[in-house]
Symmetry: C2
Subunit: 253 residues, 2 copies
């Protein structure tokens, strides 16, 4: 009987996996990978048999019962099975169902966390999810339920919606219904952390305009305080401040 | 003029940094590191000058203006300065202030995301932050404001409180005041993701009992649906199910 390591792949780019995840991948006999995982990841486990389990948003794909069964079967005939999941396994990854099936089968497992897409989106856009004073809480949820219903919330200073790319116009309306003012800042980021990542800035009432740019790409939508640009924008936007004297005395470093 | 790379170190253990972060560390001339960063990280950048900037929770430490000034000064005389921040830079890392000071000084920078402590806590305890149906949203905030006031919230199915180790008894009372029932599950995890990580399970009304175990350690507190154990617990707890037949037909893998 082998064991299963759930590894958070991060938002897409292979170099956003953790060292711990990469080391386990290098030892894996079998890798069961989400379809959204970049092909580049295979270079981290060239010795392993790779099985794409085909979860890709809400598209018809490998069923969860079948993934669960594949996991159990693989662990019975291999020493180390890696279940490579997009983002972080504990956030929107249906890890609960896979852990339960392994526990019921008495199969040992471990979970290696990863970079969730919202964190990569904040890094790409240089818009921190929390900020002193005005952005003290941030909530994560999915914009669409598994039965395809759209949902929006306003329960924190900022709200991040995963799997939001499909219905941005409808999400904008749902955000109004949830109490967000029309002019609330919205940041939309697709393929966060990847070389082909894209981001755009909107308001709740013109969120529909983001649809074309991010069509067909894994997308997170950030609403509220964390979507606002910082007081000082990118360096190019503040050239007149570049020569400002540093008035704080310092030791030389 | 050099550039600054903000790198999320993850929750503590050096092998929870990303490959991208490790590669930049290996090229760094100077590393400005939070005090909570494990000494083991130095092996990832032995060539660099390491400066501990001494942020450690709310303890008296290097002031933020001084950190900002050190960053600007270092970038003026070195090609690559790494600002190594615990967890993920965009969550509770005061990244906003450091980005603004660099932007104002015209210094180029990038942000490499990291594993935030809540994700490592969920991995360690095998208690996913989101779960099908009953744990659809999760919010992150700090239990204490920067002026030392305690705050609790109930705005999502699960709430994660960072920097919560100091006043767990008071936090339990604040959670009651925020509307959480007395028997709500609470998971407390300190040094998540590290070899010396500890976790304990509580209810809102006995959260004070966690104080001794986690004293003096970086701690996250998870409240609500995400703190409940999964239906099937760890393998050892369900031995009678270990031989359950696999009724789903499968190709051999």
């Amino acid at each position: 009987m082998g064991r299963v390591a759930f590894i958070g792949a991060g938002p897409g780019a292979a170099d956003l996996v953790t060292l711990r995840g990469a080391r386990l991948l290098a030892q894996a006999d079998v890798v069961l990978a989400d379809a959204l995982i970049d092909a580049e990841f295979r270079t981290l486990a060239p010795q392993a048999r790779w099985i794409e389990v085909g979860k890709r948003g809400f598209r018809a794909s490998t069923s969860q019962p079948r993934i669960n069964a594949l996991l159990r079967r693989a662990a019975r005939s291999h020493a180390l099975v890696v279940r490579l999941k997009g983002g972080d396994p504990s956030l929107f990854g249906r890890l609960d169902e896979e852990l339960e099936t392994l526990a019921a089968a008495g199969i040992d497992c471990e979970v290696v966390p990863g970079v969730s897409a919202a964190l990569a989106a904040a890094a790409d856009t240089r818009k921190p999810l929390t900020r002193r004073g005005r952005a003290r809480s941030v909530a994560f949820s999915t914009a669409m339920t598994r039965d395809g219903a759209l949902q929006a919330r306003r329960g924190a200073d900022s709200e991040v919606f995963y799997m939001a790319g499909r219905q941005l116009g409808a999400l904008g309306r749902a955000l109004r219904d949830a109490g967000w003012p029309a002019d609330t800042a919205v940041s939309v980021v697709s393929r966060a952390g990847c070389a082909d990542g894209l981001h755009s800035s909107h308001r709740v009432d013109d969120l529909a305009r983001a649809a074309l740019l991010h069509a067909g790409r894994p997308t997170v939508v950030i609403v509220g305080a964390a979507a606002e640009p910082l007081a000082a924008a990118a360096p190019a936007a503040a050239p007149t401040l570049a020569a400002a004297p540093d008035s704080i005395p310092l030791d030389r470093i």
